[in-house]
């Protein structure tokens, strides 16, 4: 049904897992992406670094959808929290990503908890609209606290995260490495007690409560986790694009994160994350020639994916009903 349903859960040997065709394809893709900067042009490497950073952002929304059953149209807020944490720490303290990334992640985690606690009883459209408030307020906050954020102009991010390597490839490998690590961590989460508890709380809150899992815990945990991932994505976006400014973190960027998550079918593994990241980054870049048609093409793709996925699950349901009765 989805990649949350792992029927092959009993621990299998490493050899068995490595011979699985899906795992082999993913490994091949990882190998290809690792070798790519050696041959590709600078623009592609730059675009892919941003794509990896956005893929983490897409994962952050997908975590909220999959484990919380909720939708956010304000995740640009948490992305900006991470991006500005990196830029401000570089400007004020002169420290690079190795120091500012943990700070950014922590900022997202705390931001997520601070937002989730008062909104823990909201759900569905009401929660979505309250997240929208975050996204709407953010650019104004950034512009008005000019002293720290650089106002309209924003801030530059120039320090090398991994000194010694060429600038373009170190951004690329950093973003890719973090994306792969986050995907691995999410695979573990799915099997962990916390992952099981969150999925149960999402499917049957009352049943979950009968086994000691409260709704408040589930909501705050999933939001904190999602916001932390969004902030990590923001930190990587800041480094990959060398600058942060308020117009990269508008309501539209939040909506595109959600769209990326929908297009990736809310998948929590590497390939869906890359599809979502590409939809946010590469598609608009390569469609730039289409000019005014870009939003139309975007809309058409989005409608196509949504309708195809929904009709696919309908067809599956009809088939399985027919097979059983």
């Amino acid at each position: 049904m989805s990649d949350l349903t792992q029927t092959d859960t009993p621990p299998r040997s490493f050899v068995d897992r490595a011979l699985d065709p899906k795992a082999l394809a993913t490994l091949a893709l990882i190998g290809l992406l690792l070798l790519l900067p050696l041959g590709a042009g600078g623009y592609l490497v730059y675009s892919l670094s941003l794509c990896f950073a956005n893929a983490i952002g897409v994962l952050s929304v997908s975590v909220l959808v999959r484990y919380g059953g909720e939708v956010s149209i304000g995740h640009s807020f948490f992305v900006a929290l991470g991006a500005y944490a990196v830029a401000i720490l570089e400007k004020q303290a002169g420290v690079g990503l190795m120091v500012s990334l943990p700070v950014a992640a922590l900022a997202g985690l705390v931001g997520g908890i601070v937002f989730a606690y008062p909104s823990r009883r909201l759900s569905g459209i009401y929660l979505a609209v309250s997240t929208m408030a975050l996204a709407l307020a953010l650019p104004e906050i950034l512009i008005h606290s000019e002293k720290f954020t650089g106002g309209f102009e924003g801030l530059y991010v120039a320090l090398d995260p991994l000194p010694g390597l060429p600038k373009a490839s170190q951004r690329y490998y950093l973003a890719f490495g973090l994306l792969v690590l986050i995907c691995l961590a999410l695979v573990r989460l799915r099997r962990s007690p916390q992952g099981l508890a969150l999925l149960m709380a999402r499917a049957h809150p009352r049943a979950a409560e009968a086994f000691g899992i409260t709704r408040g815990w589930a909501r705050i945990s999933v939001f904190a986790l999602s916001a932390m991932l969004a902030s990590i994505s923001g930190a990587v976006v800041a480094v990959a694009s060398s600058a942060v400014s308020p117009n990269s973190f508008t309501l539209w960027s939040a909506i595109f994160l959600l769209v990326g998550s929908v297009v990736s079918l809310n998948g929590l593994t590497l390939v869906p994350a890359l599809v979502g990241g590409a939809f946010l980054t590469l598609v608009p870049n390569y469609l730039a020639g289409a000019g005014d048609w870009v939003p139309v093409i975007y809309g058409a793709v989005l409608l196509g994916v949504t309708l195809a996925v929904n009709s696919a699950s309908d067809i599956r349901r009809i088939l399985s009903r027919g097979g059983r009765s």
Binding site: M1, S2, T9, R188, F211, G212, T214
Partner: protein
């Protein structure tokens, strides 16, 4: 509040003088029940008699306006469901409450959540303590499935299984954490005769001298064969209680079940 005996009465689940109303409608009128360990107690009654309301008061979904609930000397009436779970009170649900994304064994592992100690670091990193705990939890969940005879479906998704098996999975989940009280909400609802018979056999194997078992059920055959004691509710009051033979001979019960217009 009534004078509830709070001195420790080992593992006994008692409700005294429960009153519950929704607006002007009184659904429970001074209901008292005494649920003993080592015995299966049935709650029966026509639709709307207050069985489910009483059940929900015991599990913590409803708060009675008056009266008390005591389990092993601990007053429960003000505790939310997750705190009652921590005291060893476990339940199954009338409508299947399994997570469709989780396999059968993972659903049962959720029943062991309160026992688990590994923190968030274990959720993301392959730390040895978390891996050990995972293996132990999986073993316990498998043992619970084995005790109900359904270990073969451990790695299956709920959508692929018939309702009778799913009901047993729910009971395995409720039993996995070794509860002191097991409350079953209409376990035979939606099951056919064969599935109901299998369910009864499985339930009979679960009875332990230290376990309180409460069954709310419509299926009279199941109740009469499974239960040691039965409480009969009608219009929010207990109208009869005793052994199956006593209850079957009670003229009020006969009137409700044979002469009445319900069930």
């Amino acid at each position: 509040m009534t004078a509830i005996e709070t001195r420790a009465v080992a593992q006994r689940l008692r409700a005294e003088n429960l009153r519950l109303s929704f607006g002007a409608i009184q659904v429970l009128k001074d209901v008292s029940v005494d649920l003993e360990p080592g015995r299966v107690t049935g709650l029966i009654g026509p639709n709307g008699a207050g069985k489910t309301s009483l059940f929900n008061c015991l599990t913590g979904l409803y708060r009675p306006q008056f009266g008390g609930i005591v389990f092993g000397g601990v007053p429960l009436q003000d505790l939310p469901p997750h705190r009652r779970a921590a005291l060893g009170i476990s339940r199954s649900f009338q409508h299947m409450a399994l997570c469709p994304d989780l396999t059968v064994i993972e659903n049962v592992m959720v029943g062991l959540t309160l026992e688990r100690r590994s923190g968030w670091a274990n959720a993301f990193l392959p730390l040895p303590s978390g891996t050990r705990e995972d293996a132990a939890t999986r073993r316990k969940a498998l043992a619970a499935l084995e005790s109900l005879g359904i270990a073969a479906v451990a790695e299956t998704l709920p959508a692929e299984l018939p309702p009778g098996t799913l009901r047993l999975v729910e009971i395995a989940r409720a039993m996995a954490g070794n509860p002191k009280a097991l409350l079953l909400d209409e376990p035979a609802a939606g099951l056919n005769a064969v599935e109901t018979r299998d369910l009864m056999r499985a339930l009979q194997r679960l009875i332990r001298p230290d376990l309180v078992v409460v069954v709310v059920e419509h299926d009279m055959d199941l109740i009469m064969q499974l239960c040691d004691r039965i409480y009969v509710l009608n219009f929010g009051q207990i109208i009869a209680h005793g052994t199956p033979a006593e209850v079957r001979a009670d003229p009020d019960v006969v009137r409700i079940y044979l002469g009445g217009d319900d069930d």
